[in-house]
């Protein structure tokens, strides 16, 4: 009578273990944005830009969710719109324009092109929330390139437009069962849809917004390395949800993805540390360098987390961190990189790292790593794994990865250009004016991050005139 197996408060398609995992994974990813990136970025900008950066982060998270409920989720993960003949690009590039408004659209079983092998074990609310936190983090990531001069109102428009035009299309194509997914390109948790795209948007956006004041660039002191540590720690562990959540079940592959994510990250952090210690001009280990390496590892393992084995994960971390270290220190001095003021270097740690990771899938994916399976004790239909060149001895997967990368880069660049152009027109320029830029937070928000009375205890009126002054 009291038995859990016979007293079930949820539908038969729902498994509470899987639902829990998915909701917790989503919560961890949400924490990566708030407070994670809010304080990581807040700690990396100059003191006078902290409030602005943090408020943009909180606002972007909120705006994305409203868009997501009203149309975003169904455009990216709802049934495809089939504007062209089946199998063609036009039949698989976008979902339907439809809100998540009714009870059944939240509580009914999730159905999406994101996984057609095995029915989801959780409701649409779970899938929608999980996919929302991924959508929300993407503009927050490329915000890093734009801080220190972007108009606040412009940001309030950029986020909903960019999510609708760029993110939803890329997500539908690669994750929603769209054209590239059908062709066989894969992206475990967003090396392309999120990080490469954020890197490209960062680059194009920074170009369109123009550079920060030269004084701010020359004196781009990070404000607070302890806050960077808080944000970085949350990012690392939060990534357990980011990559661990993407098989959509709390199975063996979720565990493997978590472990591999951490392994690649450790390798990425140490790799950058060693480059700094033994190759950089100063030959000193630096904290912010280590954090860069950590992010490279996290980003690069994202497209392959559950498809590579432990050795593959180490290789991904070492290679991506090395490539980005070189890009950061040398490529950044070449045109066009030297001409564009990507304030926090998003194009390197997310763009380069995401691209590296996405291509490495085509090389290192181990077909013995089973995401879902029928073999042996599995009871579900289907079987999913990916084979890279090293194991499959074929360049097929690499080629698919390459094509998808080209698409992501081009479409994101184009879409970002369009969105920023429209917003520039709507709000009259993308930059705050020069006087405002000199002052920062106080001019824009009439707040500062660490307010202090002038000194001591100023009083509005001399203290002896106060009636309750004893």
């Amino acid at each position: 009578m009291l038995d859990a197996a016979t007293n079930i408060p949820y539908p038969s398609w729902l498994n509470p273990g899987d639902n829990t995992w998915q909701l917790v994974a989503a919560t961890l990813v949400g924490l990566m944005s708030l407070p994670g990136l809010a304080v990581l970025y807040g700690g990396l900008v100059r003191k006078k830009w902290i409030v602005n950066t943090m408020l943009m982060t909180f606002s972007a998270f909120s705006l994305t969710l409203i868009v997501w409920m009203l149309w975003g989720y169904n455009m990216a993960f709802g049934p495809l719109s089939h504007f062209g003949s089946t199998g063609s690009f036009w039949s698989g590039f976008i979902g339907h324009f439809e809100p998540l408004a009714t009870a059944s659209s939240e509580q009914g079983q999730a159905v999406s092109g994101a996984n057609t092998l095995i029915p989801f074990h959780f409701p649409t609310a779970t899938l929608a929330y999980f996919q929302f936190v991924f959508a929300a983090i993407t503009p927050i990531l490329f915000l890093g390139a734009l801080v220190g001069r972007l108009k606040f109102k412009a940001w309030l428009l950029i986020v909903p437009l960019w999510i609708s035009m760029v993110y939803c299309v890329n997500a539908a194509l690669l994750w929603g069962g769209g054209f590239f997914a059908q062709k066989g390109a894969v992206d475990y948790s967003g090396g392309y849809v999120i990080h490469l795209s954020a890197g490209v948007a960062a680059f194009v956006g920074a170009w369109m917004v123009g550079p920060r004041r030269w004084q701010d660039r020359e004196n781009a002191f990070p404000s607070n390395l302890m806050m960077v540590a808080v944000g970085a720690g949350i990012l690392w562990l939060g990534w357990n949800g980011f990559n661990g959540g993407d098989p959509f079940y709390a199975g063996a592959d979720a565990a493997a993805a978590v472990l591999n994510t951490n392994v690649a990250t450790a390798a990425g952090l140490l790799t950058w540390l060693f480059w700094d210690m033994f190759v950089s001009k100063q030959k000193k280990p630096t904290f912010l360098g280590a954090i860069n390496g950590m992010i490279c590892g996290l980003v690069a393992i994202t497209p392959s987390a559950g498809w590579v084995n432990g050795v593959g994960a180490i290789v991904v971390g070492v290679v991506a961190s090395s490539i980005v270290w070189i890009a950061w220190n040398y490529v950044s001095k070449l045109r066009p990189f030297s001409k564009i003021d990507d304030a926090l270097g998003v194009v390197y740690t997310h763009g380069f790292a995401g691209l590296t990771g996405g291509l490495l899938v085509g090389i290192l994916a181990d077909p013995s790593m089973v995401e879902y399976g029928v073999k042996g004790p599995y009871k579900g239909a289907g079987n999913f794994h990916v084979a890279g060149w090293f194991y499959g001895h074929s360049f097929h997967q690499l080629w698919e990865q390459f094509l998808a990368a080209v698409w992501i880069i081009c479409w994101t660049a184009f879409g970002t250009f369009v969105v920023f152009t429209v917003v520039k027109f709507l709000v009259g320029g993308l930059r705050e004016d020069e006087e405002t830029l000199r002052e920062g937070d106080i001019a824009i928000h009439e707040e500062e991050a660490f307010p202090e009375p002038t000194f001591g205890e100023p009083v509005l009126t001399p203290s002896h005139t106060h009636t309750d002054n004893v």
Partner: protein, 112 residues
């Protein structure tokens, strides 16, 4: 021209500011200092260990004024900054040879 410097309790700043305005002062410069005197310091304890803080927070106010109003100014400052408890601070006067207002390059009394 004289430079009047006063070291006062921090929470007295606004009162001093209002008081010196009355005697005709239109500008002043303040800095955060710490003083050592009769007051003695205080103790803080972190993780079971005592630390003695000998110095007390004060504000130092510097005001340039013409020779005539020095006396009034000193009195105004003393009246405003005084609490009659230990640690009220000091004020002193030094002579100034030139003053320049940077914006206008005016010298001497016009500079004020």
């Amino acid at each position: 021209m004289k430079l009047v410097t006063a070291v006062v309790k921090p929470f007295k700043l606004d009162e001093v500011k209002e008081a010196v305005k009355v005697v005709g002062i239109t500008g002043l410069t303040v800095s955060q200092v710490r003083g050592f005197g009769r007051t003695g310091g205080h103790i803080e304890v972190f993780r079971g260990k005592e630390y003695t803080f000998d110095f007390v927070d004060k504000l130092q106010i510097e005001i340039i004024c013409t020779d005539e109003i020095v006396e009034d100014l000193l009195e105004a400052i003393v009246a405003a900054a005084r609490t009659d408890t230990v640690g009220d601070g000091m004020a002193w006067v030094t002579d100034i040879e030139h003053v320049v207002r940077i914006r206008t390059n005016e010298r001497g009394p016009q500079a004020l």
